[in-house]
């Protein structure tokens, strides 16, 4: 594996497990594992786990989720403004 390029097959095989064990999906007061700890658990080297985790964090959701985020924030801000500032004209459609 080169420094800059993870083998896609290795990535596909381990990405879900790595995501589950790291800090991507958090439960309060239950910290996720470090890359070193995940590597020990999965029998991989730490560098590979770091690489899998970095790619998986970014790959977790498609760009559609970003579109939803833009719309979510626009609406949530307006709804709050309409209520808290007593401006019903601001309420989103």
């Amino acid at each position: 594996m080169s420094v800059f390029k993870l083998d896609p097959e290795v990535y596909k095989r381990y990405k879900d497990e790595v995501l589950k064990l790291c800090n991507s999906f958090q439960k309060i007061d239950q910290p996720g594992l470090s890359d070193k700890q995940i590597a020990e658990r999965l029998g991989l080297d730490e560098r590979t786990v770091t690489e899998i985790r970095c790619v998986a964090e970014r790959d977790c959701y498609s760009l559609d989720e970003w579109e939803k985020a833009i719309e979510f924030k626009r609406k949530a801000t307006l709804e709050w403004s309409a209520l808290a500032l007593k401006r019903p004209d601001l309420k989103p459609e």
Binding site: V3, F4, K5, L6, P8, E51, C54
Partner: protein
């Protein structure tokens, strides 16, 4: 044009130190002409330039040098705090003395070429001298970051340093014994590193410096790495492998560095870490 009031240079330096500089010096703008290439001289940036005011500071703390995590200096090694002093000085010179002042932009004008060499400015302002490893070292404070202001004000120029910090006594001893110095041993040009040199008649003489390799270390995660990964991605026919490149650790880290590091960040300090003259004179507990 009215002359500067008496004591103006002292007043300027006092203001600089109060604003957060550790040191402040003045260079004669004309002194750059003998050593700076065309288009990188004070008069090229500010016609009529007479002085260059240089401030040094925001250097790594003693704790930074002692830290064992490489991420401390790699993410914190920025010139941002001394740049703010430079900007303030430029405004101060204009508002207080009524002369033109130009804050030298940090970073590069094009490629790797700066607007003005801040290291040369520091030398000419008597604030330090070039070390064997390259950075300008101040005798009292060692390795520092620099900012400069070019001005038409005729401040009193300081003389260049007479006794350079490099080579340090420990380095002279090491050279006599092993024909090398700490910086040369850490980053040897003839063995995958960036530096070659010697001590001759008590002076440091650099014989080789691989700027391109040094750039891959000082700016590991930066514009160059970004460009390299982008090129490799565009040349990669496999879409899954493209994802590995663009979402991978190296590219992600490079984007963080580009985003969060203001205009100038350094990511390798190894020649300075081992340098006895780079850390300043203060004893720590």
């Amino acid at each position: 044009m009215a002359d500067l009031p008496s004591g103006a240079t002292t007043q300027l330096k006092t203001f600089a130190l109060k604003s957060g500089a550790t040191v402040c010096g003045v260079a004669d703008a004309a002194a750059f002409n003998a050593r700076a290439p065309e288009k990188q001289r004070p008069d090229d940036l500010l016609p009529g330039a007479r002085s260059v005011v240089v401030v040094g500071g925001a250097q790594p703390r003693e704790g930074d040098w002692a830290a064992t995590s490489p991420w401390v200096m790699q993410t914190m090694g920025t010139t941002e705090r001394i740049q703010g002093v430079g900007r303030r000085l430029a405004q101060y010179i204009e508002s207080e003395f009524g002369y033109y002042a130009l804050y030298v932009p940090p970073g590069t004008a094009s490629g790797d070429t700066p607007f003005l060499s801040l290291m040369l400015a520091a030398e000419l302002a008597g604030l330090g001298s070039k070390s064997l490893a390259g950075p300008v070292l101040n005798r009292d404070h060692g390795f520092m970051y620099w900012s400069a202001v070019i001005t038409t004000a005729p401040f009193e120029a300081d003389a260049a340093e007479e006794n350079p910090a490099c080579p340090a006594p420990a380095c002279r001893e090491m050279w006599d014994r092993d024909r090398t110095t700490p910086c040369l041993a850490t980053c040897p040009g003839d063995n995958g590193g960036c530096l070659s040199g010697k001590l001759e008649n008590g002076r440091a003489v650099r014989t080789f410096y691989d700027a391109a390799r040094c750039n891959t270390r000082v700016h590991t995660h930066w514009v160059g790495g970004f460009q390299k990964v982008l090129e490799e991605t565009l040349n990669e026919p496999d879409r899954d492998k493209r994802k590995m490149l663009l979402y991978g650790d190296f590219f992600t880290r490079s984007l963080w560095a580009i985003t969060y590091s203001s205009t100038n960040i350094a990511q390798c300090f190894e020649c300075m870490r081992v340098c006895p003259a780079a850390h300043g004179l203060k004893e720590m507990k």
